[in-house]
């Protein structure tokens, strides 16, 4: 993937299977939006703040939405969220939190930190596709946290 490419979606996900399934789902729903995938929290921050391997990236090109898995190696999803939402440059980017469980206490924490929405990654793939297609309204339309 071309690193200098302007992207609409930043997917932060360490599980390659989930990455593949997510990308496939997005594609299936004809969401042709350019997507960039990073594998952990540190890389996500580097990307967003044009640091490290992303130092040459144009900082003005900010993604339209961030899909953020909470369970990440190195810097956790919540930490990433906190930094994004407390930095002037990135705080306005909608963040959709991805989690494996509806019961996850981190969902609450994520809302507190400013997450705009969340999606439970279901076991059933079809269901997952449904969820992802619904998801796109959240960043394309006025974004409000679901109750």
């Amino acid at each position: 993937m071309d690193m200098m490419k302007v992207v609409d979606i930043l997917l932060v996900e360490d599980n390659p299977n989930d990455v593949e399934l997510t990308l496939r789902a997005l594609k299936k729903r004809n969401m042709a939006n350019p997507t960039h995938v990073v594998e952990d929290g540190a890389e996500a921050l580097d990307y967003l703040f044009c640091r490290g391997m992303y130092a040459d990236r144009n900082a003005k090109d900010i993604p339209r939405v961030i899909l953020l898995d909470l369970k990440l190696p190195k810097v956790s999803g919540l930490e990433v969220l906190e930094i994004i939402k407390s930095d002037e440059r990135t705080k306005s980017i909608p963040v959709v939190v991805l989690t494996s469980s509806r019961e996850d206490p981190d969902i609450k924490a994520a809302y507190r930190l400013g997450a705009n929405s969340y999606v439970v990654k279901p076991v059933d793939f079809n269901e997952f596709l449904d969820r992802m297609s619904n998801l796109d309204y959240y960043w394309l339309l006025v974004n409000q946290p679901p109750v």
Partner: protein
């Protein structure tokens, strides 16, 4: 009148006669038969103020208003010529004054004419004297009648006949004048009591017979009036010389007698009062150097009334020497400077008894000169004793109160308690030694606090007592009690450590025992050999009781504290163990929810990809296998979800509110069914009482139960769900009944177990966790859950909730 008869018989009197008439001392008028005045003498004209010529033109009627011509003419006819008559009359002067006169009238013949000679004598002076006499008599009467004495002149031999009596006389005897009129009834009327009458009559007559005025005196003679009232009179008799009469006079002395009686009563009352008040009065007359004491003063001094108080020095001798000087000085100053005094002194009575008196002296002045010292003396021993006692009692109560306070405030420190007690008792008892040994554990070690003699030092030490001694004291049954020289062995053991040099011959030891355990020892050694007095004893007993109770409290408190600390520690270790376990469980749950799902997602997702991308290369069996893989992955996802929610129920705290159960059941039913399903199903939903419960959890209960009912009756074309309730005193029991496949009551125990299923997955899908969740939620609410059913006849599930909304236990809270 001879002169008149010698008058010449012509109209006018000749000169000689006129001259003679002028010599005449009285006024002389000659008038005619018809009353015309024909001649007067100088005196007549002078006395009436008319000139002679004026009078000769007037008639007798002009000057005498009483004159009656007709009567005068009759006189002439009836009287022998030359005879005279005398009448009283009046003459009017020219000035209008009326003069009383005495008129002598003599008819005369003069020159053949009937004439009258009127010799008029001015009697106005006589009249005046007579009036004066009358007035004087009236005055005398008034005086006599108004004298505060009864007066009478009477005989009494033995008839009593009154010549005179004034108004007061019968009044004082309590009788009327009328009653005294009969000379024979005097004695009966005056003296009503026959016996007394007899005595009095004899006495009085005897005295009168003697003629001696000195004997004729009777004082305070009691007379009983008609009303039964007693009056007193003094009666006196004075013989009137030369006549057989007495001047009797009586005085009413009732008031004096009564006053005297009252005075006597008052005096006796005063004496009694003084006696009761133990207060006497005295006075010292400076001029006469005379001292007067009331009865009580004698009594206070313990002397008989024969004692002569006039020796001031011997009076002072009664007082104790120092007090005597004080009194002497005060008395001297009262006499010389007029300073009053008020002293409380000790007086030794004649009988040797020492009393406290309050003596007050007050100089009485007249014209700036001190004439007399007046004063009171009171026996205040009793008062003083009571006051002293009260003061002592108050002091002691204060000590007790202080100790009480310490005990109330310090149930933790025996040291503070004991030192406070020592401080208080030291001031009160002034002992040689007080030591209090205490133990607030069950060991044999006693900590001893003590104070010695007059020093302000307080010390402490520790002693070990033999277990056998402690046992002996505990078994002795003696507690908080003074036993002279009791427990000597123990005392010696302790005192030896504190005062090694002393002999411990008279040390008292009091064991302080509470709940049969020796909590302390109180050791006292007094500086003097006198035993502790009753008051102090009482106080000490009280202190011992308080002390033992307080020590017991401290002991118990200490024990409780140690138990508590132990318990605290246990709770803490258990809690941390639980916490560790819980944390592990948390981690496990997290792992389950995330880590188990990821591979499932992969299995499901990739299978899907396989079917989508390579489905054309698969035969129908290959596709079926892919379907089975997907289905199983999905089932496992559901299992994981249920397990997580099951474990979550125990972890979160309940948040109970009022829940409308009917509404909830109704909405859950609609949530779980589609319109199509509802067309083939009947819901009978009756009234349901509201419940106090966690709304999220109780909704889960309805979800699971209604879900089950729908699921297990789905094969019945006439499926019917009935939701209702029943109640006991303290519970509401909700139930849901279906007409589905039911269950075998033999397996009812397995219904609510985790992963327990009575039907195959093929028959009815499910994880076997739903009812376990229901049970867990209901149990957390303090309720019960149970079921009834039969194969093919449907099932009924019951759950109860407490009406008071109080939960039996709360795992998560």
């Amino acid at each position: 009148m001879n002169n008149a008869s010698s008058m010449p018989s012509h109209g006018r009197l000749d000169h000689t006669i006129l001259e003679q008439l002028e010599q005449f001392g009285d006024a002389l008028f000659i008038h005619s038969f018809d009353g015309r005045i024909v001649e007067v003498n100088g005196r007549a004209s002078r006395s009436l103020g008319y000139a002679r010529e004026e009078l000769l033109k007037m008639t007798v009627m002009d000057i005498e208003p009483d004159f009656n011509l007709h009567a005068a003419q009759n006189v002439w006819s009836s009287t022998v010529l030359g005879a005279e008559i005398t009448v009283d009359g009046h003459q009017c002067t020219k000035q209008g004054n009326v003069i009383p006169v005495e008129i002598r009238i003599a008819p005369v013949m003069h020159h053949g004419q009937r004439q009258y000679v009127r010799i008029v004598h001015d009697v106005s002076r006589w009249v005046e004297i007579e009036n004066q006499l009358k007035e004087r008599n009236e005055l005398n009467r008034i005086i006599m009648d108004n004298l505060p004495a009864g007066l009478a002149v009477n005989s009494a031999f033995p008839r009593v006949e009154f010549v005179y009596m004034n108004d007061k006389f019968p009044q004082y005897y309590g009788v009327t004048r009328e009653e005294l009129k009969d000379p024979d009834s005097f004695w009966d009327v005056v003296y009503r009591d026959p016996e007394f009458r007899k005595t009095m009559k004899a006495q009085v007559l005897d005295a009168i017979a003697s003629g001696d005025p000195e004997r004729m005196k009777w004082t305070e003679v009691p007379l009983v009036t008609e009303d039964g009232e007693i009056r007193y009179i003094n009666a006196y008799g004075t013989p009137l010389p030369g006549r057989n009469l007495l001047l009797s006079w009586v005085l009413d002395v009732t008031e004096q007698k009564r006053a005297q009686l009252e005075l006597m009563e008052a005096q006796s009352l005063l004496n009694q009062t003084q006696h009761l008040a133990k207060m006497g009065g005295w006075s010292y007359d400076l001029e006469e150097k005379r001292i007067r004491w009331t009865e009580e003063v004698y009594r206070i001094h313990g002397v008989s009334p024969e004692y002569d108080p006039n020796e001031m020095d011997s009076n002072f001798e009664f007082y104790l020497p120092t007090d005597r000087e004080m009194l002497r000085e005060a008395f001297d100053q009262a006499v010389s400077l007029g300073q009053p005094y008020d002293l409380q002194l000790r007086l030794q009575r004649r009988d040797g008894k020492l009393i406290w008196v309050r003596t007050i002296g007050k100089p009485m002045k007249k014209n700036g000169k001190i004439l007399e010292i007046q004063g009171f003396i009171m026996d205040i021993s009793e008062m003083k004793r009571m006051t002293d006692e009260l003061t002592a009692q108050t002091e002691k109560l204060k000590v007790l109160h202080d100790i009480d306070l310490v005990i109330l405030e310090n149930i933790e420190s025996d040291e503070l308690l004991v030192t406070t007690v020592l401080h208080n008792l030291k001031d009160l008892l002034q002992p040689k030694l007080i030591a209090i040994a205490t133990r607030i554990t069950d060991s044999t070690g006693f900590s001893v606090h003590f104070t010695k003699g007059k020093s302000e030092d307080f010390g402490n030490t520790v002693v070990q007592l033999k277990k056998s001694i402690i046992d002996a004291i505990e078994k002795s049954g003696l507690r908080n009690t003074f036993i002279p020289d009791g427990f000597r062995e123990v005392s010696l053991e302790i005192v030896r450590q504190i005062m090694p040099a002393e002999t411990q011959d008279s040390v008292v030891t009091i064991p302080l025992i509470a709940s049969d355990a020796l909590r302390g020892l109180f050791i006292l050694r007094m500086d003097h050999d006198e035993p502790v007095d009753g008051m102090d004893m009482e106080l000490l007993q009280e202190v011992f009781s308080l002390l033992s109770i307080a020590l017991e409290k401290i002991f118990l408190n200490t024990q409780i504290k140690s138990y508590f600390a132990e318990l605290e520690q246990k709770v803490e270790s258990r809690t941390s163990m639980l916490k560790a376990a819980n944390d592990e469980l948390e981690a496990f749950s997290y792992s389950v929810s995330h880590d188990l799902r990821a591979p499932l997602r992969a299995i499901s997702g990739y299978t899907r990809m396989l079917v989508e991308d390579y489905g054309n290369n698969l035969d129908s069996e290959g596709k079926r296998i892919c379907e089975v893989i997907s289905q199983n992955a999905k089932n496992m996802g559901a299992l994981i979800d249920d397990l997580l929610s099951f474990s979550r129920i125990g972890r979160n705290a309940l948040q109970p509110t009022m829940v409308d159960m009917r509404n909830l059941a109704y909405s859950v039913y609609h949530e779980l069914t589609s319109t199509d399903m509802r067309e083939n199903m009947i819901l009978e939903l009756g009234e349901l009482p509201a419940a106090t419960a966690d709304p999220t959890l109780i909704k889960q209960v309805w979800m699971n139960l209604i879900g089950n009912a729908i699921k297990f009756s789905s094969k019945n074309p006439n499926a019917k769900l009935q939701v209702g309730y029943g109640e006991t005193d303290d519970e509401v029991i909700y139930h849901i009944k279906d007409n589905g496949v039911g269950f075998d009551m033999r397996y009812v125990d397995k219904l609510f177990g985790v992963f327990q299923r009575l039907h195959s997955i093929k028959e009815f899908e499910g994880t076997g966790v739903g009812l376990a969740i229901v049970q867990r939620i209901i149990h957390r609410h303090g309720g019960r859950v149970w079921a009834q059913g039969a194969v093919g006849e449907g099932a009924t599930f019951f759950f109860s909730l407490r009406k008071d909304g109080i939960y039996g236990y709360d795992e998560g809270g």
